[in-house]
Symmetry: none
Subunit: 206 residues, 4 copies
Amino acid sequence: MQDKPLRADALRNRRKILENARDLITRFGADVPTDAIAEAAGVAAGTLYRHFPDKAALIDAVLQGAVEELGQFTEDAGARVESGRAQAMAEFRALAARYVEHASRDRAVRAAADRLSEEYRFTGDRLRRVTDAGRNLLARAQADGDMHPDITIEDVFLLVHTAPTDAAPAVRDRWLALMLAGFTAGNRPGHAADTPEDGISAPRRP
Amino acid sequence: MQDKPLRADALRNRRKILENARDLITRFGADVPTDAIAEAAGVAAGTLYRHFPDKAALIDAVLQGAVEELGQFTEDAGARVESGRAQAMAEFRALAARYVEHASRDRAVRAAADRLSEEYRFTGDRLRRVTDAGRNLLARAQADGDMHPDITIEDVFLLVHTAPTDAAPAVRDRWLALMLAGFTAGNRPGHAADTPEDGISAPRRP
Amino acid sequence: MQDKPLRADALRNRRKILENARDLITRFGADVPTDAIAEAAGVAAGTLYRHFPDKAALIDAVLQGAVEELGQFTEDAGARVESGRAQAMAEFRALAARYVEHASRDRAVRAAADRLSEEYRFTGDRLRRVTDAGRNLLARAQADGDMHPDITIEDVFLLVHTAPTDAAPAVRDRWLALMLAGFTAGNRPGHAADTPEDGISAPRRP
Amino acid sequence: MQDKPLRADALRNRRKILENARDLITRFGADVPTDAIAEAAGVAAGTLYRHFPDKAALIDAVLQGAVEELGQFTEDAGARVESGRAQAMAEFRALAARYVEHASRDRAVRAAADRLSEEYRFTGDRLRRVTDAGRNLLARAQADGDMHPDITIEDVFLLVHTAPTDAAPAVRDRWLALMLAGFTAGNRPGHAADTPEDGISAPRRP
DNA sequence: TATGAATGAGTATTCATTCAT
DNA sequence: GATGAATGAATACTCATTCAT
C-alpha cells in the first residue's frame, strides 16, 4: 500500500540516519553539518541525500518523529482518563511536565521547531494527532471544573513552545508551576469565580 | 583604572561599530557577517577586530547594552513607585509587557541571549543593575500584597527568558496574561490565602 | 558474429534506453544525469550500465544513431538524383538546410558532436555510410558543373560541423547562403573560370 | 576617478587570477573548477571571490578582455586603411584570419561565448567598440567594391561565431576561404553583377 | 592606528559508477 | 538479468580572522 516496500538494508540506513540526526541535532542544534550526521550514521553523504532530498527535509523528519511521540503520549493520557483510571487535570499536569522534560532532553525538537516555526507554528496536519488528543483532554479537565474554561489548544502549544528546555530540572519545574497557575480554574480572571479587578479578561486572538 | 584613555576617533569608531552591530543584529540576527557590521559602521574589518577580540565579544557588548537599557527601565519604574506616582504591581506588569515587546522588535536581545545563555543564565555582574532594581520593585509589590510572596528575581528572569518574542502581539499578550497569573498573589498555592492541596510549594533552586 | 543473441526483453530495454537517452539529450543536452535517462526508460541505473559500459558509450550510441539518419537522408537524395527525379546541386542545398534544421532541433547531435569531436573529427568507420553517399552526390553535382570542383567530403563535414545550430532560423538560413557561396562553381577562385590572383588554391589538408 | 585605486598587491592578484582563468579556460573550457583557477593563480579560493562575485563574473571578465583585444585589432586595421597604408578588403580578410586563429588558441573566447551566447548574442554595449570599428572597415571595403554590398556586421559576427576554432590550422584556413567567398563582391547573387537565378536575395533579418 | 586584502577550512549538494540483494 | 541503494570525490561559495601595507 505504501509508496515502496524499501529494502531491508535501506530501511536500516534510513533509521540510522534519522536516529543519528536526532541525536546530533539534540546535542548540537540544527546547525550540525549533514556530513557529520552521515558519518555518525556510518553512511556516505550521498546515502543521506538518497533518503532525504535536502537538509531541511531531514530536520523535518526528525521533528515529525518528535511530534508523533508527543501525540502518542497525549493519546495515552486521554485513554487513561477515559477509562477512569486517572483525572484529566492531573494527567494534563503530568503531560506538561513530560513535554518539557522531553523537549529539554531533545534540542532537536526545540531547534527544529524554532527553525521551522513559520511553517508549523501551531497548526499543520502533522500536528493533527497531538492536537486532537490534546483538545480531548482539555475538554475533560474543563468539564471537571479544574481547567480554566478559556484555555485552548493554542495555549497549550504556547506553553510547550516557550518552555525553558535548556534550563536545569528544578528551574523547569518552577517555570511549569508558574505557568500552570494560569491554566488552573480559579487562578485567573475570566472564570465565574474570578474577580475581574485586575483587568485581565478572556483573550481575543485570531 | 581603565585600560587606555582611548583617542577621540577611536572612541567614535567603537561607538559606530556598536551602534551598527546592534542595528544589524536587531534586524537580521546574530548571524550577520562581521564584514557587514564593519561596512555599516564605515570602518574596515581590522578596525572592528581592534576594538573587539572576536565576534562573540562584540555580540556580548551589544547584549550588555541591551541589558543596561532594561536596567534603566526598571530603575525608572522603581523611582515612580518610590515617589508614589505608581503602584508596584502595575509597574511590574507594564515592565514585563515592555520587555516582551522590546525583545520582539529587537532580535539582538533574543539572539544574543540565546547564544550566550550558558554564560549569563540568570546571574552575572553584568546583571547587577537590573537585578537590584528588579528586586526592589518585587519587594514593593509583595509588601503591597499584590505579588505572590515566593516570587524571586530568578522567576522574573525566567519569565523574560521564555517570553515568545517571535510571536504575534496578540499571542505575546496572551502568554503574558497566563504567565503573570502565577506571579499574582492569590492566584497560586503557597500564599497565605491559598489552599496547599495540590502540593506545589515554594521552589527550592540552587 | 555478434557478441550475444540478446534476449528479447534485454533488447527491448536497450532500445528504451537509447530512445529515451536520445530524447532527453535532444531536449536538455548531454549533461542529463544517467539516472534521469534510466528513469525515463523505466529501468534501473544498473540496467543502463549493463547495456553501456559508461555514459560516453551511451552518448556515442545516440550520436551513431543520429549519424545514421543523416546517412539515410543522403542516400535518399542520391537515389532521387540517380533516378533523374532531382538535380544534384539542388539536393545538396536541400540536404544542407535539412541538416542544419535537424541539428538545431536536436541538441543530442550538437552536444554529442561537440563532446566527441576529437574522436570523430571528420573520419571514422561510423561515418562510412554518410561519407560514401555524400561523395556520390558531390561527384554528381561537380559533373553537372554546379559544384566547385575542389570541394571534398571533408568540406561538407566542415560545413555541418560549424553550422550555427543554436541560432534563429533566419540566421541559420543566412549563414547557409553565405557558406554555400563557397561551394558553388563560379563563385570562388580555383575554378576554370576563376582568376587565381588572390592566392587561394585548392586545399591541402591531412 | 575610478571606484577604487586598488592596492598594488591586490591588483597583482587580480591580474594573476584573470591570466590564469584565461589560460585554464582556454585549455580546458569554462568547466574548470574555480579552485583550480585560484590555485594556478597562487591565491586562496576566497581571494578569487573577493575579486569576482561569482564564477560567471570571472568568465565574463575573461570574455570582456578577449572582446577588447578584438576591438583593438579591428581599430588598428581601420587606422591602417584610413591612412592609406592598406586596402580595406585585404585588412578584412587578414582580420578574419586573425580572429579565427585568436579564438582557436583561446577556448576561453569560444567557451564563454557559447555559455553567454543568450546574453550577448550579437549585441551588447561590451561589443560596441568592435562593432563600430567593424562597421567602419566593412563600409570601406564595400565602397571599394570588394565586399558584397548586403554584408552587415551581424554577418561578420556570424562568421566569428561559427568558425571551427578547435580545428587544425589548415582546416581553419580552408573554412575561411569557403566562408569568405560569400562575403566577396561578385561571388554571390544580390550584387549588381550577379545573376539572381538561384533565388537567393538580400537577407531580411530582425 | 586604520585599512582591506588574503586566508582556508567548512557546507550543502550532485552524479557517474559499483555491487549487494 | 534486473534492481536500486550506496559510494565518495567533486564543486561553488562563505566568513571569521590575520597581517602586510
